[in-house]
């Protein structure tokens, strides 16, 4: 049933929505449209309105010419996203523990969530200094009888090291969301399973995991999308080095735009990133769609 808005509501709605819409038009919709235009014209800094239309030329240039750096960035960003998504099972383990303890949940949640709320810039600085050649992490490795790592200085280890820092920082958010998902599964289902003689492992695969799939999907999508857009962590930890080992898409876009002033190219890469994010979201929803519901 549609209720017709009475006058005070109409006025209030207008007062709220008009400024919000104005803001969205000015700082969100219009920039998106302008950015799209930049991607398909040869943007003229001095006379933007009469920039000549070039169609897909920027995209073609990305695909077929010598932008070695672009492909480096793409490969690094995807590897990084893969590393980050490896953290989801770990988060699930902690969430499972958190959901099944009888007391002290708040205290653990506080501790696990603390890295999520603090500044990435400060964290990056902290890890830069813990990851030096004779820093505390190498001291710990040595104490454990393991060979030292080059961490951020090694071309092989730099990207996994950054992923490790981001995982450490982001895990708590996933844990809290997953734990809430676990706690929302009705107890009766577990009781029924117990009556039917299911063991813990069966219960986990047949009840917990399917009922958690919605939350799990959300967590995986958020982690992947966040990873593909990562900027601050790599910039402060390594600045993209060593030798481009941690050079990722966002850094490529920002440098093309504000260091090389190639607005068109930067915008087209940003739209490629946008398309990839959309695609991944749709794919993950499709792949993990359950065929049934409880």
């Amino acid at each position: 049933m549609i209720k017709i808005l009475r006058r005070p509501q109409f006025r209030f709605g207008l007062v709220v929505l008009v400024p919000i819409l104005a803001w969205y038009i000015l700082f969100s919709f219009r920039p998106i449209v302008l950015s799209f235009r930049m991607a398909i014209v040869d943007y003229d800094l001095l006379d933007p309105i009469s920039s000549p239309f070039v169609g897909l030329a920027h995209f073609k240039a990305l695909l077929f010419t010598e932008y070695q750096l672009f492909w480096t960035a793409v490969i690094n960003s995807f590897s990084y996203a893969l590393y980050i998504s490896l953290g989801v099972p770990l988060a699930l383990v902690f969430a499972y523990c958190l959901a099944n303890i009888t007391r002290g949940r708040n205290k653990y949640q506080w501790a696990l969530f603390l890295p999520v709320v603090v500044s990435m810039a400060a964290i990056a600085l902290l890890f830069r200094f813990m990851m030096t050649a004779n820093g505390i992490l190498n001291c710990l490795l040595k104490a454990g009888g393991l060979p030292p790592s080059r961490w951020l200085a090694g071309p092989e280890s730099a990207l996994p090291s950054i992923a490790l820092v981001s995982l450490w920082k982001g895990l708590g958010g996933n844990i809290v969301i997953l734990a809430a998902g676990l706690l929302s599964i009705p107890m009766e289902l577990y009781d029924a399973a117990k009556v039917d003689g299911a063991n813990g492992w069966q219960t986990f695969w047949k009840i917990t995991l399917p009922l958690l799939s919605h939350t799990l999907k959300l967590v995986i999508i958020l982690a992947t999308i966040g990873a593909l857009q990562a900027y601050t962590s790599a910039i402060i930890l390594t600045g993209g080095g060593p030798a481009g080992a941690t050079y990722m898409i966002s850094q490529f876009i920002v440098e093309e735009a504000f260091a090389n002033l190639r607005f068109g190219l930067a915008s087209s890469v940003a739209f490629v990133l946008f398309a990839v994010i959309l695609l991944i979201t749709l794919m993950q929803f499709r792949l993990m769609r359950t065929k049934w519901e409880y």
């Binding site: 219009r30 902690f94 810039a121 600085l125 958010g173 601050t232 735009a257």
Partner: protein, 270 residues
């Protein structure tokens, strides 16, 4: 049962320790002297000193950056929380044509990476004369799509009867928002406040592009610049990082009770 609980607690203790250990290391490192911080793997300082804090406070315009970050994050957070709640209320409880389309249109912007809009936003700021101005950062952080989404989802769960009853009694919409909605959604508002404050306090990419002169820079930019300015002076790094993370840690600790409830909500409603 006892053994199982013990195992769960043990795993969580390891997790909690891993979360906290780097902060503990940082806290002690900030009280070490320079020679010690680069050479010794000891946790506790041999000699306790405030040199790190003294240097960071006196040398890089750190206090100015602290003030700048506060000037962006405090009004920004207040506006986002109030604006999102009001918008969430209208989008949840009003019926008008095009409402769903509008909501979806707003939501769709959440998928757009910031790098898509960064160049046009920079040009807009240039046109508005806001390059290198704190207002430029503030104005672009006044709305949060996530906030509107969170508040709409939360307010939708409030029974219409509460609102109708107030209306029949002649309450104004502003009064309803203030006296009926706010008390019922305060945990979501607290969650949004912490997340927004953190996001703005931590924001790096956009301020690093827009703010150029030292006097106008925010904490994360100053923090990042310490890498080269104070190369290997890890005690100063730690002191600066400590001062940056403490306000957010305090805020989070105070709001935690509401916070976890509210965050759980976002995940489940996704």
């Amino acid at each position: 049962m006892k053994i199982r609980q013990f195992a769960l607690h043990l795993i969580l203790l390891i997790g909690a320790f891993t979360s906290l250990a780097p902060f503990i290391w940082m806290a002690f490192a900030s009280f070490k002297g320079f020679p010690e911080v680069v050479s010794s793997p000891r946790l506790l300082p041999l000699v306790w000193t405030l040199d790190g804090y003294r240097e960071i406070l006196s040398r890089v315009g750190f206090l100015m950056a602290f003030r700048n970050s506060a000037l962006i994050a405090i009004p920004g957070t207040a506006t986002v929380v109030l604006g999102s709640t009001a918008t969430g209320y209208v989008l949840a409880k009003y019926q008008f044509p095009g409402k769903e389309v509008l909501f979806r249109l707003l939501l769709s912007t959440m998928m757009v990476p910031f790098t898509v809009v960064i160049i046009p936003l920079f040009i807009t700021m240039k046109d508005l004369g806001l390059i290198d101005k704190l207002e430029g950062i503030l104005i672009t952080s006044l709305c949060s799509t996530f906030g509107i989404f969170l508040m709409r989802q939360t307010i939708e769960t409030i029974p219409n009867d509460y609102i109708d009853a107030a209306r029949i009694d002649g309450a104004s919409e502003l009064w309803i928002l203030h006296q009926v909605i706010f008390p019922l959604v305060h945990s979501a508002m607290a969650t949004l406040a912490v997340l927004t404050f953190l996001g703005q306090w931590d924001s790096y990419l956009w301020p690093s592009v827009l703010l150029k002169t030292t006097d106008h820079q925010t904490l994360p930019i100053i923090i990042a610049s310490m890498r080269s300015l104070f190369a290997t002076r890890y005690n100063i790094w730690s002191a600066g990082s400590m001062l940056t993370v403490i306000p957010v840690m305090v805020l989070f600790t105070l709001a935690q009770r509401y916070f976890v409830e509210g965050l759980a909500l976002t995940g489940l409603k996704g």
